[in-house]
Symmetry: C4
Subunit: 370 residues, 4 copies
């Protein structure tokens, strides 16, 4: 896979989900016999889907709705819900901003300080509904807020940045010692993004229960043109899955869950992520498309309102189905944006597999989308 790019500089060929497809084999199966459940730590979910910690995807209310449908909705603990008592009007305002001023207004809205009291309150709201409560902080703010989060009784703790490394070097700040931090915590931690075998292996050694594969990818991000950084997802998921196997060996059996986070826009992409080795996928735009998603027809990530270096955009999304229709159908369109779980089930049945773990071995071909 190493290619000579020029004298003295080599690089690997890496593949996106669009570059690959899965292929049926000689056996088919009844979709009703297929299981799509996955288990992380003490928690079992009927669908291998997480709602991404983005204000356009997960509010406390959607976290509860998703939880009742077997999906783990992760609340962004640095978003509008922990900065404002009532963010509903602000979400509506963002959805009504003209394109040319959206970045600037969002930079202003997200300049409001985070309130620890609101962190506690949002987690409590989700817990009160009886679903698994999960919240996300960035690595930069984990040290500052994690005690609030844990004391509020979060069930799963997510540390999510564009890149999270096991070793962060800084001369001016006390860098978070991930290993010590996770060791001291009673709550299971999911951490990422990460895109390579070596970096994933180092993250797994910190004791994380799961790692997020990706680098601020997906529909709302312009990371590649701004930073020159790109994590082709098919290759990245396969590499990190290989790290999971290698770490299982070196740790004497600890299984760290691999969650594809970025570039998953259709049910076909969910299928391919698992085919490349993912245990679950974190969805952003796919859920933001629901009529009852908090983004009100728009989708954006934290990069979109970075104070000095915005690297994403607020993107408009079509909204025509409810969250339940997006996840479980019935689909009324044919483009892989509704009945995501029905499509996954059908794809597994058509290729003859009965559970997600087996399905990670399905055959793949390389055939770039025209």
């Amino acid at each position: 896979m190493e290619i000579e790019l020029g004298r003295g500089k080599r690089g690997r060929r890496a593949y996106t989900f669009d570059d690959v497809a899965i292929v049926p084999t000689r056996r088919t199966r009844n979709p009703a016999d297929v299981s799509t459940s996955w288990t992380i730590d003490a928690f079992t979910f009927e669908t291998p889907i997480l709602g991404a910690p983005m204000d356009s995807v997960v509010s406390p209310q959607t976290a509860i709705e998703l939880g009742r449908m077997g999906v783990l909705g992760v609340l962004d603990l640095e978003g509008l819900w922990t900065r404002y008592e009532d963010p509903e009007p602000l979400l509506a305002e963002i959805a009504s901003l003209p394109a040319e001023s959206a970045t600037q207004r969002m930079q202003a809205l997200y300049a409001e300080p985070i309130k620890p009291g609101l962190i506690s309150q949002r987690i409590a709201e989700i817990r009160a509904a009886g679903v698994v409560a999960a919240g996300a902080l960035s690595p930069q703010r984990t040290a500052e807020h994690y005690e609030t989060v844990v004391n509020a009784g979060v069930d799963l703790f997510v540390i999510r940045g564009t890149t999270v490394s096991a070793e962060h070097v800084s001369s001016s700040e006390d860098a978070l010692n991930l290993k010590q931090f996770i060791y001291d915590l009673d709550v299971p931690v999911i951490v990422g993004g990460v895109g390579t075998h070596k970096a994933a292996l180092h993250l797994m050694r910190t004791g994380a229960a799961g790692v997020l594969v990706g680098f601020g990818g997906g529909a709302a991000s312009t990371t590649r043109s701004a930073l020159g950084i790109h994590t082709p997802m098919a290759t990245a998921v396969a590499d990190v899955s290989a790290a999971r196997r290698d770490y299982m060996d070196e740790s004497g059996g600890r299984y760290v869950h691999v969650i594809a986070d970025g570039g998953v826009g259709t049910s076909g992409d969910i299928v391919k992520a698992i085919a490349m080795g993912a245990d679950a996928v974190m969805l952003g735009v796919s859920l933001a498309r629901a009529t009852d998603a908090p983004g009100g027809g728009f989708h954006w990530g934290q990069e979109a309102h970075h104070a000095t270096l915005p690297r994403g955009r607020r993107v408009a999304v079509d909204q025509s189905s409810t969250l339940e229709e997006v996840l479980f159908g019935p689909a009324t369109t044919a483009d892989g944006t509704t009945n995501l779980m029905g499509a996954l089930r059908k794809s597994m049945a058509t290729t003859g597999y009965s559970d997600l773990k087996e399905f990670q071995r399905v055959d793949v071909v390389v055939s770039p989308y025209e």
Copy 2:
């Protein structure tokens, strides 16, 4: 051809018809000396073309017209013609639906139960005209309706699903035992779709007279974005043709016909399908473009009205030539959509071949379409 996609995950590079082209060699031939006939079981046809079992392509009337022109039209025995006494007004309604409601209305129309009496009646209508009668069922409904079909005197029986395997596993239903079924039947069976060498070999061992290569491909399908499944046709046809040769060896000489079904939109694609090893091609959209095709300017497959997981679309098609002009010209346009047989004949003559079996050996280059 195996590529490392990431650590521990490899995939084959697979090619579509658009990736390849045929090349002339040192000999040319007079088109009048070229034969395009093919024979399956007791039936010989002057053209290596089958009309796909889709309501927009084959009605009882077009099956008869096609038969008289040397084409095998296959009627969909689960389409409107076996659900309604008079489907003409419904075909007209589908052609007039606005895009946003087409999927939903089609789902409703196709919810009407299939009437065994209509199956018998439609086959009888075709037989009465003196042409070869062929009808198709899905694997799911073959057990329920096959006796009706056989008793009605069908000449060729087609079992066509998105993927058909020789081994279907189900805990809740009695799966069709294809081998036993075909053995018991007096009528030759064509079965598919299939996309790999191994799956094709297993299907050939069931006793089928022909296999369909493809996976719900073609203009009307969004299988790849919904299911993540894709069967690049040039590679698939070559693989299944190799299975034909291997099966001929292991069976002591039984020749199973390979029929490309999907991704064949122009006369150039017909040429390439045969160049990759196909004995014949099944056409959908290419025939739906005729002014006398039943779709009335639209084309759709069974995936388009699946009750919970529609994966195709009703697509509008340009209609400017009759079925006869589409097949035999004179062409009045220059884009490979009319005079399909004239183009095949010209292509065979230009490269110096005199029959289809020889033409399967023509040289091919890889040069993706810009």
Copy 3:
């Protein structure tokens, strides 16, 4: 270069001009020191350019103008000029036809029989002006009209079809024996198109003075979608140039000229054709863009009005420069469509070469156009 497309079917990767580019090396040269002349048989031209035998490119009048500028204009002896006494009004009519009826009307216009007397008259007109007279027939009509052409005093005889082979097989007609034909003729013959090493070698053995590389390619052709045939030009020119070298060896020194015919749309393409080994290029659309080209703002080939299988289109072309500006500048645009010879000269100087034969050795990189 052989790729496995599927089990049992392999194909070569072949390259178009768009896939490649030339690279400067360590030496540069003064453009004034560069020679672009080429010699075929007894005729030397200051530019390695031929005007294609197409009614939109070469009329008797443009053949004369081109000849005075050092370009060999080849008249189509089966075009409007040998079918009609005065084709000017018909050329104007073609230029005014609406797109939807152009193919049909052109089929009708070209159904008019060829008049031998007009063949003689047109060649005489060109000769009378004192420039080299060249005319083209298709292989199908060469036997019928060649005596008229030779008797009219043509200097160079061109036999041009979509594919011309040294061995044409026909049961119903007397195929032209190219070798005998060329041997008997006193006039040097250029013949093509051809696209492979082996076919070119066979053509060279017929005694041709030059071969045309291509297969009805270029802007006006839809050969690939209609016939599935494609001749990626960079690879084809290199292959035929290798045949030139091999034939020179086996013939004891006879040099057959290689002329790229198709896919040459810009001055950059001319540069690449020669870089891949061509001695000269035949231009269609590049010359049809001139304000004084006969096409009146349109361009079409013989495939566009084939009676039963049209495979080209009449395409609209921008016209803003005269033939002289197109060829020698000054360029007033920057897209490679004007000052073709200035660009070739500059490109040769920038890479340090002084004549065309040397320039065939320039370094090439593979880097597909985005």
Copy 4:
């Protein structure tokens, strides 16, 4: 990397910046700890950026502004500023020309002779402001004007053509002997463009302090379609960087700076240029986008007004940020066109590097932009 393009003709696969991306590894770093400074000869700059010698990018006034921000602005000494006493109205006129006549009017404006007195005056203006003064001549005019330039007290002398070779052959003119010229000069010289290892090595041996990698590339150039010449930048920068290392070895330690010049349109491209081995980048369109750039919303190179062979275009550029915002932010858009240095700093930090020299070793993947 050598590919057989056809019999007897091989070429290397070469890569553009769009073909590659960098990948994070296991370490991250605080952006505040990252150094982006570079030093050439006696001059140290805080940013590895040069303003290209183009009238739309660098005027005497912008050279001064850029210098104060740590950027080396290079004045085109053959542009409007050395042809006219007051070019401001002419710049405004160019920005107001309609597209169809822009090339012709620019040809006329640039036909005005260069005034040596104005060369001296412009350099003096820049020096007077206390910033490093750099000016560029083409190789063709270096002999004529260099004494004026040196006497005016230029700090860095740039010789920039589409291709500059160490060996220029001419029968009619005295070619510049680069080696002698540079040896005799007291001022450090930057020379280019160059695109290959061998040509770069020859240029380095002339004694140049830096070489420009590129060939008139970038947004404003149509070199590829006009000349057939293309220098895929990722490969070219890697090759020339390898020449830098080889020359360092053969010269006993002389370090020649490698400056990517062309194809650098976004901050992501700057990142990739350095990742492939560049010490600095020369920016054209990226700076022309500033509201205070001299082009007034347009960008053009010298090829755009070549008297007989224009090969570039005057292109319209969006202008919404000041030069300072373009370079250092805050960014208000998300597409890699603003806060270039912030993006570079973030990219270096995310991948764990602390200075530019180290960052040249960052991992790269091949994954073409869709």
